[in-house]
């Protein structure tokens, strides 16, 4: 793993001044820390992806198939025919530059090719050369250039320096969506066997085993059963879970990150406590064990192949509807793609909360409810007994995930929950230009949580961390809340790097902390085994008296 420079080494070195040389003349330098490793052949083979071979990003020769150029150009033609977005976005950009300083990777690296307009231009220039008369005739003067191996390497470098967060598309006067172009560009790369290890490994594991982490059914059960024990130890409440149970009312699908590693695991404990409190008739599937979908970070098709399992399993288990956990890209997919890909879900019913009777009309077609919607509804109807003082040691700010913000619009629900489960005044917003629809990416989304990519991730996360630092310094914020599993996986590293001392937490964990069960034991710690405020302090006060 490459050594990551210290924050004080990175920050002063960032310059937004582009080089004197024109962008067509510069080539990316594959320095350790700034690229993701090439995918190993075994993963490609297991999902039937083409041109599996051993290769390395730093190799001069990427061992592309003989006719790679043909494949790319044909693939581009196909996609132009199938996606109006691509055609339109290629044609209508005026290069006004409004998107330039909106990209966290540009802000963190200063590399001009990370300006979304130029990232798109890397592909647009090829489109012009082969699909536009002006480009064919005028070449470089028309902004067109030949597709060469160097160009392909450049695509790889910069399309994997885009987290598909869509912040640029928000500011674009024509709504040009870099995420869409990145997805399609990565599909093209994939079509000639150029993939990254982290994504590919997750996809292949998810495809065969059920989740990105590749847990076998018994391992998954083991992990979740362990949370049940933990919950019982902390709260005195046993929170047993059923797996693959037919006839349950609800299928609960969470991102695997939430049962794999801290601090997502505490979020999972929160889900379990909540469902147990409600005596909810739900089950978890070991087959559809993944809400997240790294397939989407490779191609639309692979996204669909992984996503298909959720409805398949809902059908097999004969559940009535689905609850989805806290996950960003999962919800972009469940909101904007799932029903189109794998619907109609006419074997399910329009979700109705068994506790409040609320009919989730907004989920009438895809039959899936976001855990934050579900919880907010419970709170609104006063169905949860809460003791917010158990979160008194937490002063929180909320990071809106890119996908739930700009690919869905779920802003109020998590905030409503936070304000209910935290004591008054314990929730602080980051500066308005860095939250809600204008939120900054964690810097590691869309399949980048690989260790070898740490430097670029830390750079990409700079704008987010910078805003977190602001509220930490100003208001003493010590927790960064989020409703995204990738966030919970990568933000701890990010804040540890830029804002040491900051903790990252899911919102359901806060709910779990605050929930008061009628028959619980006296709580002395939160779900993370940290002392609650007021616990263990009496002794200290006594000492002070002396």
């Amino acid at each position: 793993m490459a050594k990551v420079p210290k924050p004080a080494e990175i920050l002063p070195g960032i310059s937004y001044q582009p080089p004197a040389k024109g962008w067509m003349e510069t080539k990316p330098e594959f320095k350790p820390g700034t690229y993701c490793n090439a995918a190993s052949p075994k993963w490609l083979e297991s999902i039937g992806y083409p041109y599996s071979r051993a290769w390395s990003v730093t190799d001069e020769d990427w061992k592309l198939p003989e006719n790679w150029k043909e494949i790319i150009l044909q693939g581009l033609q196909d996609r132009l025919d199938r996606f109006r977005t691509l055609k339109l976005f290629f044609d209508i950009c005026v290069r006004c530059g409004a998107c330039a300083d909106k990209c966290h990777f540009f802000l963190g690296t200063g590399d001009p090719k990370n300006m979304p307009v130029l990232r798109a231009e890397l592909m647009r220039s090829v489109y012009k050369k082969y699909f536009k008369r002006a480009g064919m005739m005028l070449g470089e003067l028309a902004g067109a250039r030949n597709l060469t191996e160097d160009v392909l390497k450049e695509w790889f470098y910069y399309l994997y320096q885009c987290t598909e967060c869509r912040r640029c598309s928000l500011f674009c006067p024509y709504g040009i969506d870099m995420a869409e172009m990145t997805i399609l560009g990565r599909e093209l790369l994939s079509s000639v066997g150029v993939n990254i290890e982290w994504t590919m490994a997750s996809v292949a594991s998810c495809y065969e085993r059920g989740s990105h982490i590749g847990a076998t059914p018994q391992a998954m059960k083991d992990m979740i059963d362990f949370f049940a024990e933990e919950n019982e130890r902390v709260t005195g409440i046993a929170t047993p879970v059923t797996y693959n149970r037919k006839g349950a009312e609800i299928l609960f699908v969470a991102p695997s990150g939430d049962y794999f590693a801290d601090p997502g695991t505490y979020t999972f404990m929160g889900y379990m406590l909540l469902f147990n409190y409600l005596d909810l008739d739900y089950t978890i599937s070991t087959y559809a064990a993944e809400g997240g979908n790294f397939g989407f970070f490779m191609s639309h098709e692979m996204g669909k192949r992984l996503n298909a399992k959720i409805y398949e399993e809902a059908k097999r288990l004969k559940v009535k509807w689905i609850i989805g956990g806290e996950c960003g890209h999962m919800w972009r997919i469940c909101n904007q793609y799932m029903d189109t890909w794998n619907g109609p879900a006419d074997f399910l019913e329009v979700p109705v909360s068994p506790i409040t009777g609320t009919k989730f009309e907004n989920a009438a077609s895809h039959k899936m409810v976001h855990i934050s919607e579900f919880t907010a509804d419970l709170l609104y109807h006063g169905k949860l007994k809460l003791d917010p003082s158990r979160n008194a040691h937490i002063k929180m700010t909320f990071h809106d995930s890119c996908n739930t913000s700009r690919g869905m619009g779920i802003f109020e629900e998590p905030r409503y929950i936070i304000q209910n489960v935290l004591p008054p005044g314990h929730f602080v917003e980051m500066p308005p230009n860095t939250i809600r629809e204008k939120t900054f990416c964690c810097g590691s989304g869309s399949g980048f949580n690989a260790d070898e990519y740490l430097e670029t991730r830390m750079r990409g996360g700079l704008p987010r961390a910078n805003a977190v630092r602001y509220v930490a310094d100003k208001y003493g914020v010590n927790h960064l809340g989020c409703i995204c599993a990738i966030d919970r996986a990568v933000l701890p590293t990010l804040v540890n790097y830029w804002v040491p001392g900051m903790e990252v937490t899911g919102i359901s964990e806060m709910v779990g902390n605050a929930l008061v069960f009628p028959d619980e034991i006296e709580r002395t710690t939160d779900l993370r085994d940290r002392d609650l405020e007021g616990v263990g302090e009496t002794v200290e006060e006594g000492e002070e008296d002396e």
Binding site: G22, K246, T286, Q336, M368, D473
Partner: protein
């Protein structure tokens, strides 16, 4: 030649070249070509090209409904969406129309524009921090440019119509309320030139913009500036015979083309540049104007969860079925008491 020089000077010389061509043409008594043939040709290319491009775009389907959401989505009944949420995250056609109207008429997304900079900050352990602030200059420049263009265009209707419709007169007097000068100065013409100059200057002076700008970005700006400057010169300095110009233009629109004598070459340069602009329009980035209406991140309602969007080319994919999965893990599943379909 550097990237910038090529992309800046080639279109500049191209536009200067166009001016010379028109001038030389008039000197060679080709008024009929520049006053009649080329404008007709340009109009033809414009209309046909526009239709062709729109059809080209429309032929590709919209497989997914992917609006960029910039406000609260439809949720629980008590989570109220304010007007901003409805317009920035529309959930029905009416709200989409509202969003599009704001986008097209008020440049909503550009209005949102921010500037982000790395500022020195001694209080920060790393010595610097990012700051973001609202930056409306680009929006102002763009909106001034486009509306001035529109007004200028509409004002020109007085050349195309007989009698001139009332609203053109009205526009004329509103636009020319600065009556201190003779002839009356039209604000729109000045605004158009100033805004176009601003758009040009920012491209050249802002390093990042200069870095990304292509000949295709400078050419239309030079063209518009050329059109604006020749227009202003004609009106205020080197007067042309307005009556004769109107005769020519009316002749064009009534399909009885004629070339009255005595129109200065400045007019032919002007109308030639306009012709080039129209002919160039369908094959250039100027197509952003009709394009924005088709943009799937803006013109669709964010109602995926309750109205299924159908992808016309949706095809079945291979996925790992539950039975394949169970076949692999059956024994282990039975051992840990996870229910299975087949007991062994």
């Amino acid at each position: 030649m550097t990237f910038f020089k090529m992309h800046f000077f080639v279109p500049l010389f191209a536009v200067i070249g166009l001016v010379i061509i028109a001038y030389a043409g008039v000197q060679a008594n080709l008024q009929a070509v520049f006053g009649v043939v080329l404008p007709y040709l340009a109009a033809l290319i414009f209309v046909e090209g526009l239709i062709y491009r729109l059809v080209q775009w429309a032929r590709s389907p919209v497989p997914f409904r992917i609006p960029t959401t910039a406000g609260q989505n439809k949720s629980l009944p008590w989570i109220k969406k304010d007007l901003g949420d409805k317009l920035d995250n529309p959930e029905n056609t009416l709200q989409v129309i509202g969003r599009m109207a704001l986008e097209v008429l008020a440049f909503r997304s550009l209005f949102r524009n921010l500037r982000t900079e790395l500022r020195q900050d001694p209080d920060n352990p790393e010595g610097a921090r990012l700051i973001h602030w609202s930056y409306k200059w680009l929006w102002l420049g763009a909106i001034a440019f486009h509306y001035a263009f529109l007004v200028v265009l509409l004002r020109h209707l007085r050349f195309f119509t007989e009698p001139v419709p009332g609203f053109v007169h009205l526009l004329d007097s509103a636009d020319g309320f600065l009556q201190f000068f003779i002839p009356t100065v039209y604000i729109s013409g000045i605004v158009l030139l100033v805004a176009a100059a601003y758009l040009l200057v920012r491209r050249v002076t802002q390093p990042q913009l200069r870095y990304i700008s292509l000949a295709a970005d400078y050419f239309p700006l030079f063209l518009v500036l050329g059109i604006g400057i020749t227009g202003v010169l004609m009106r205020y300095i080197y007067k042309v015979d307005i009556i004769a110009v109107k005769q020519l233009v009316i002749g064009l629109v009534t399909l009885h083309p004629q070339v009255p004598a005595g129109i200065g070459s400045l007019f032919y340069i002007h109308i030639f540049l306009v012709s080039v602009l129209f002919a160039y329009f369908p094959f250039s980035k100027l197509m952003h104007a009709p394009g924005v209406f088709l943009s799937p991140t803006r013109n669709l309602a964010s109602n995926n969860r309750w109205v299924r969007h159908v992808n016309p080319w949706n095809y079945p994919v291979k996925f790992h079925s539950y039975m394949e999965y169970e076949d692999e893990f059956r024994d282990a599943m039975i051992e840990v008491e996870i229910p299975v379909e087949k007991e062994s």
